[in-house]
Every structure is written in C-alpha cells, then in structure tokens.
Symmetry: C2
Subunit: 262 residues, 2 copies
C-alpha cells in the first residue's frame, strides 16, 4: 500500500472567517482579522501549518486604495474605448493610469501589466463588492501587497504568539482557458514557489522541473470557500504543505525573456 | 456583522485517499478508488457537496496511455533539439507526435496544443511517477479525460448510490507567472465554469463578468494535499460550491479568437 513519502498531512481544511464587517478606508483590517479568529469555531489555537488568505478587496479598502470616479477626467482614448464597448470612460481612465504597460486593448477588455508586474484584466481595477452606496467607487490593487500581508501576519503573531503566513489573493483571468481563478498577489512568511527540483518522486526518480506555485494554489483553495458573492474576505487554510521563508510575490513574476508561453 | 448571502458552506475539507496501489495498464482504477473510499476515515457516507479529484498520472496508467521510449525512432528535428538542450530525443519525438500544434520550441522547452485543446509544456507527456523500473516509460494525457472522469463517477455511484462529480487534474505551467498549478483536464457531473454573471455581489450590484473556473480551483485545492512527490493520486474535496450538470472540459478551452491574453 502506497504511503506518503514526505510526511505531509493527508487532509487540509479551509475555513472562512466570519464576523468581519464592511471595511472602509482607515479601518484596522488586521485587528478585525484577529477578532474574527477569536470567534471562529475550531480554529484556535492556530497551528504551524495554517496559512491566512485575505482577498484583495478588503486590503485595498482598508488601505484606501480606492478612487471615486466622479473625480476622474478621462482622456479622449478612454472616452472612445468606453463608448465603443459600453464601459465607464472614467474607469477606463483609471485602468490606463494604473498600467505600467498596455498588453492588449480590444473587445471591451483591457489587459495591462501593473507596476507590480502582474498581467491582468483592467489592471486589477474593480467596481464589484466595494461597499454599499459605492456607485462611483473602484478599488485599485494594494501598492505593496507583500507589505499588506506582512502587517496582518505581524498582528496575528502579536496576539496569538504564532507565525502564520499570509497570502493576499485576487481573481485573475489567464490565457488559453476561460474563467477566473484566485491567485496570490502578495505573500508574507512563506515562499510563493515550492521548488521540488532535486526531490525524488514516488519512484525515487529525481524531478527535473517541478516548481509548484503553492501561493497560487492556496489562493484558489480559499476561493472555493470564500466565493465571489459572499461577504467573507478571509480564510484559514490548515494542513497544506508549504515552505516557510522570507518570500515575495516578486518570486512568482516571470520575466518576459523566460516566458515561452507569450 | 456580514453573513454569507448564498448559503454556501463556510468550510471545505480536502482529504487524500490512501491505499491506492501502484496502478498499471489494465488496472480497474475506479474499483481501487471505490475500495479506498471504503477505507478512508470519516469520508463515508459521501455527501452532496463532495467532488473527487483524480490526478492524470493514474488515469493515464490505468488506460495504458503509456509509451515505451525504446520503441520510438526520433525524427532529425527531435534529435537536434534534444542534443542542444540535453533532453531525450525519443521523448521529444513523442511530444511532437502528440501535438496538434507546436506553440513554441525553445530553451529546451516545448509548448504544444494537444488534441484536446490544452496548451501546455511537453503536451502533457511526462516521465515522472510512472512507476518503479519505468526508466523508458512516459505517460500521455488520457485520450478523452471527460470519459475517464465519467467512468469513475459511474463506479462510485453504483457502489455508494450517490452522484459525486469527478475532476481529472494535471499540473500545467502558465504564461506570466513562474511555477505549475494543478488544473482540470477532464470533468464529469459538474460544470467546469461557474457563471456568476447576473448574480448580485454582496452589495446587490450585478456582477458583469465573473465566470469562475471552479474545476481548476478544485484541482489546485486537491494538489495542496496530494503533493507532487507523494504516491496519493485521489482526493475528496468536501464542501466547495459548484454547479451540477453535464459539464465538459471543452467549456474551459478558450478559442484563440476570444483570447486577448495571447
């Protein structure tokens, strides 16, 4: 009978935290997460194999990474694109301002490269789930999502005395396949990539090129419980295999020169 | 206090099944999975919100989607590429034979489009974890992964009287980001995409373009417990939100004409 060969746990649990209220700019998100952990059945005490996944929207809102479209004057290019595809010209303008590079702009969709190096639709500028009466508000990506994750990790460690890695997640489309999946846009306390090169496989054969994007898989697992329409922005993933360390989301960004898929 | 608004569960569990032996061509994989379910602590009775995720490798092995490289005569192009990049020319030959289209061939990496429409490295041809003494064997992708999933689903339903959707998963690289993540390559009993267009978000605002690739997220969540080096090829994901239906992996394949990321 085959047995696991690396001592990994044989189950993971993903638990959505409850009780986190509508977040507004200036709110202490980390304090809300700490309180929610205290309330969430069966989670405490936190464990060595816990990871917190926090969705981008609440991070951006707490950090005030929000733009009121009524303050935006769109450039003619944004107006033309918006008219052609029935979009809000002011939101198009914000997407263009947030972009380090326009990858593609067609069929009503704008793919940009963000200052962080992410390639995604609308540069992560998003009007959904911003909050009640938020008609003219859009969120931007956090300026430094690793730092956002670190702040939450520090608050959890200060309160509970355990170092729980944190992943900030967002929903990205991708080439080749329909649909969005949640991926990591910031990490703290774990390596975004788990490098299995040189580790023997189950037959003792050394694997040549297996680098797992574990931070992305943690984000996707959390999304399964958080959903897109529920007001639950934080999950604990318990029992996954990951490597502690001073990771950064920059480790996940592939330079164009290495990217054979492009 | 914010509460979930769609009645989704607030936790998911991902459990690796134990006791599945080394699979060889002709083995009844579905029967092994049924037996493993009977043995796996706390899983039975199966529930309405269970999904089985089965990794490609055991499916391919059971179906005999295996090639012995000692039988392969590589074409000159394969020999030249293999010599240049220290690869096995016979494996390069198999990758080329399996390809519907070569997307890119450089730096020792071959990106192809498979007959199923997947775009992935080496067309899914893989030498790792094939089995003991498998030096010259590589696995191919299953010919019809939806059918592979359906056969397992039927066997589970026949034995336990409950219709558990099945996802067949594999590890794919992707553009823009380092690392591989597990994605779905076959589904049965659920929709690969969960279409939330028209569903109100937490603020009552209708979401315009949210289609979740739930099958891919289920595959990624399962990978977190199955790992790449462990001899555990099947997981139960319990509690995720998905839509039952006559889904196909074809729903996930984006035609080039729609793909603005390309």
């Amino acid at each position: 009978m085959a047995e696991p060969n690396r001592g990994e746990p044989s189950r993971i649990d993903v638990v959505a935290l409850g009780g986190i209220p509508e977040i507004t700019p200036g709110d202490d998100l980390a304090a809300h997460i700490v309180r929610s952990l205290e309330w969430t059945d069966g989670i405490l005490p936190l464990r060595d194999d816990d990871v917190l996944v926090v969705t981008q929207k609440v991070v951006s809102k707490a950090e005030g990474a929000i733009v009121d479209l009524t303050t935006i004057e769109p450039r003619p290019e944004a107006v033309a694109f918006a008219e052609r595809y029935d979009r809000d010209a002011r939101q198009v303008e914000v997407v263009l301002r947030e972009a380090r590079r326009i990858v593609r702009m067609a069929n009503g969709v704008i793919i940009t490269e963000t200052p962080h190096g992410f390639v995604c639709a609308n540069g992560g500028v998003d009007a959904s789930n911003v909050g009640p009466d938020s008609g003219s508000l859009v969120t931007l990506l956090p300026r430094d999502p690793d730092a956002s994750a670190s702040a939450i990790r520090a608050a959890v460690r200060a309160r509970f005395g355990i170092d729980v890695p944190v992943v900030v997640s967002d929903s990205f489309g991708r080439p080749w396949r329909w649909g969005i999946v949640d991926v990591a846009i910031g990490v703290s306390g774990l390596l975004a990539l788990e490098d299995l090169r040189g580790v023997p496989d189950a037959d003792g054969r050394v694997m040549r090129s297996t680098v797992r994007a574990v931070a992305d898989e943690l984000a996707s697992a959390a999304e399964l419980v958080l959903g897109k329409t529920a007001a639950r922005p934080v999950a604990v993933v318990r029992g996954a295999t990951f490597t502690r360390g001073d990771g950064s989301i920059r480790d996940l960004i592939m330079p164009a020169a290495n990217d054979l898929f492009r």
